[in-house]
Amino acid sequence: MSGALSTPNLAQSEILLEARELTRSFSVSQGLFKGKRTLHAVNGVSLAIAKGEVLGIVGESGCGKSTLARMLLGLLPPSSGEIALSGENVGKLGRLGMARRVQPVFQDPYSSLNPRRTIASIVALPLAVQGLGTAAERRKRAIEILEKVGLPRRFADRYPRELSGGQRQRVAIARALILNPEMVVCDEPTSALDVSVQSQILNLLNDLRSELGLTYVFISHNLVVVEHIATRVAVMYLGRVVELTDTATLFKAPRHPYTKALLASVLTPEPGKGIPETGLGLAFPDPLNPPPGCPFHPRCPAKMAQCVTVTPQLRQDESGLVACHLYESAASGATAS
């Protein structure tokens, strides 16, 4: 079930990163005498990311988006499954080799910059870690890259506390780019920023991508942001990918009931429309006690008998990948593996 993941348009381009059956579980202590239980934060996620694309990952909080991001960055070893960069297992790349190819931009620019370092020193840190260049060369390179992200050189000797949120996020982007990585994993890079600054940062990310030929994994709970920047979107629910399609198709014709509910929940600026009703109810299921069968069935408006017992697999059809029993009859043989 791990094969056959490349969508038709993906087959032509080079696959940069491939994740196969990634699972990450945490053991959660329940108190002194109750023993431990296992929480599957990410449960069998397989992804293939093509060079130059922007893969958006959406889902509500607790669905495993950030855990997935940390695994893709090599910050968290997967419990099972593997990650390959250009076909090579990342375990062979080592800490420094991985850092040269994949870099992060985090959500909160107030905690992602060390308050005791100057901006130039923060941006140059990856170079220092890799042992590249002399101190003066690293500083020069840091100032170049700061100017590329729109920060004049006089910011170089300031401290993060002297900068606004948007300026800090530019610093974080500069730090991510200084090693010329192929891929940048952006974990909610705009959700901590003012609305007016969000679009500046998004446009900057977009410009940098076309200029430097970058590949992004773009994690967000904000569908509008994802629609703006992503070329393909993966929808996650309870640690699984439930739908994976190119952006236009997903927003025009969502198929998984959860994707439909997410799209229905987007707030519009027109007050007359009121606050949208998602039909999902309030209860996000406890990841420690995931429901049997399809993880979404307790909240699903289109629940069928087999949803309670059989977990649907992610299946390829003409318009993308979806994990839902509703679309299985179309595919050949709707039996669960």
Partner: protein, 298 residues
């Protein structure tokens, strides 16, 4: 100048050190505490120059001379003499050396032990954390005075034994505070960013974590220095610490207790010196925390 949105003219900037200095001077209690502390340090360093007499020289013809403000006092011994005829002012001045030496040395030893333990436990968590918590609990279950008593009974007592015993016992607060501070910093994204840049654990602990918990370290160090000085005085008072004829303030109080009702100053003077020194250290430490913690910065 194409980045117009970001290059609005700034107010004339002060350098970092000038800003820090300005914040320091804004705190009256801090300035006062540091001033007093510097005075004590100057006294300790200049004791041989300032002292009118040899602090160890006994003069049996001038025993129990009262300070100058008594009728029987004289200016040859401005603060009088003790029952062995030693000049009390000289002994008090030399006593500052012992107190400061103890405070600083104990903090260096216990700070190194406690900070290392706290950093490792807070950063790695898990079993290392459990081990450290166990060690701290074990250490806290042993009263310092009792352990010191046992050690002194076995190996004898001297200034350096006192420093060593206190240094090896007083790391508990460093360990606990550094552990929780490290846990907080460890979960921040700049540590994750350094990891994603491929930085080694040593580099992250020394370059990213330690500078950010240094304010806590300094505050604990001042409190522990004050407490170590008090403990030395207590040990010396019990006869287990610094041994005569060294002019430790605690020992001076102890030696004077038999004369409490006849020569009040023999107890009051070293007691006051001790209290003022502790007060100065605590004021300075408290003020320092306010000045250097990043949250207080503008």
């Amino acid at each position: 100048m194409s980045e117009t949105a970001l290059s609005a003219p700034d107010a004339p900037e002060l350098s970092e050190t000038r800003k820090l200095l300005r914040r320091m001077l804004g705190q009256k209690a801090f300035v006062f505490g540091v001033g007093l502390l510097l005075l004590f340090i100057a006294i300790a360093l200049l004791a041989p120059v300032l002292a009118p007499h040899d602090p160890y020289l006994q003069n049996l013809t001038a025993r129990n001379v009262p300070p100058f403000w008594y009728e029987k006092g004289n200016w040859a011994h401005p603060l009088g003499t003790d029952p062995l005829g030693r000049d009390y002012l000289s002994r008090l001045l030399y006593g500052a050396r012992i107190s400061l030496l103890i405070g600083i040395s104990v903090v260096i030893i216990s700070g190194l032990i406690g900070t290392t333990m706290g950093l490792l436990a807070g950063y790695f968590g898990g079993r290392i954390d459990m081990l450290m918590t166990f060690l701290v609990t074990t250490r806290l279950s042993m009263p310092v005075i009792l352990v010191a008593l046992a050690v002194v009974a076995i190996v004898g007592s001297s200034l350096w034994i006192v420093i060593l015993v206190l240094g090896l016992l007083k790391w508990d607060r460093f360990a606990v505070v550094m552990r929780s501070a490290t846990q907080q910093v460890r979960s921040l994204d700049y540590v994750a960013a350094a990891q994603a840049a491929g930085a080694s654990t040593t580099r992250i602990i020394l370059g990213e974590v330690l500078p950010n918990i240094a304010p806590h370290l300094i505050v604990v160090a001042t409190l522990e220095a004050a407490s170590a000085i008090l403990l030395e005085a207590a040990l010396s008072f019990l006869g287990l610490g610094v041994q005569p004829p060294l002019p430790s303030w605690g020992l001076m109080i102890s030696e004077a207790k038999a004369y409490m009702f006849f020569s009040f100053w023999l107890i009051a003077l070293p007691g006051t010196a001790l209290a003022v020194l502790i007060f100065a250290i605590n004021l300075a430490g408290d003020g320092l925390r306010d000045v250097i913690s990043p949250e207080g910065r503008t």
